[in-house]
Amino acid sequence: MANPEPTKQRCGLVAIDGAMALIVILLVVQIWLLSATLEAFLAGHSGPVIPAAIFSGLLFMAALTLNIFVNRIDHSSRRP
């Protein structure tokens, strides 16, 4: 296996770190959303349940897209 040039590797690592930071932010929003929805549901309000589920799904899709992005960067940076 050939060792790719360091500059390319560094750029790849920065991109992956950025994507990971974005995923962490999305995850924090999702955790807040879940706790707020649960709180509302237990209080007898089912109004925010559907929008919360849709929004949580969108956040998950965004995290999944970022994961695919990380995989692609990983492969392109580590291979010549």
């Binding site: 992956i16 879940l34 649960l38 995290a63 994961n67 990380v70």
Partner: protein, 171 residues
């Protein structure tokens, strides 16, 4: 489509155990990213679970049960009872000559038993100083996030009948 899998034809051991030390940083980052995305999936499943629970939630049926005689307690006095089940402790307060209110005795913060403070005319939780209005059970002060569930009362002759539980949000 290969969502989480490897895009190359290299065996897994070569992907996960890099020959080059520099590549190891990629592997750890990729694994952490995968873990974060799976956690995100867990949050989404949690939201879906709440959605399914809310769709299939049945409206509770409350029994009608006499809880006190009209003149059983003096003005400003209280009576403790259980409703709708024997585990649900409630408090009945006579606020005026012909005015009665009843609430769940369980504080909405951490489930301590609330009591009626006649001098302040409010329900108080002794654990964390959460105060509730005697008029509607709304939170006046303290950490409770929600009002106290109110017991719906009806008067039949000389009896006070509990007919349901009204749960309301704050604000």
């Amino acid at each position: 489509m290969n969502w989480f899998g490897r895009a190359s034809s290299e065996p897994l051991w070569k992907e996960e155990f890099s020959v080059h030390a520099a590549d190891e940083r990629y592997v750890t980052r990729r694994q952490l990213t995968k873990f974060l995305v799976l956690t995100s999936l867990g949050m989404f499943v949690g939201n879906l679970w709440i959605l399914i629970r809310s769709i299939f939630q049945r409206q509770p049926v409350f029994p009608e049960r006499p809880i006190a005689q009209v003149d059983e307690i003096p003005i400003g006095g209280v009576k403790l009872f259980t409703y709708p089940s024997k585990e649900d402790h409630c408090i009945l307060v006579r606020t005026a000559e012909s005015q009665y209110v009843a609430y769940s005795q369980k504080c909405t913060h951490l489930s301590c038993a609330v009591y009626y403070s006649q001098e302040n005319n409010r329900l108080e939780c002794p654990c964390h100083q959460g105060f509730f209005s005697i008029k509607d059970g709304s939170v006046l002060q303290g950490p409770p996030p929600r009002p106290l569930p109110q017991i719906v009362l009806e008067r039949e002759g000389g009896k006070l009948i509990a007919t349901g539980v009204k749960v309301s949000g704050n604000g």
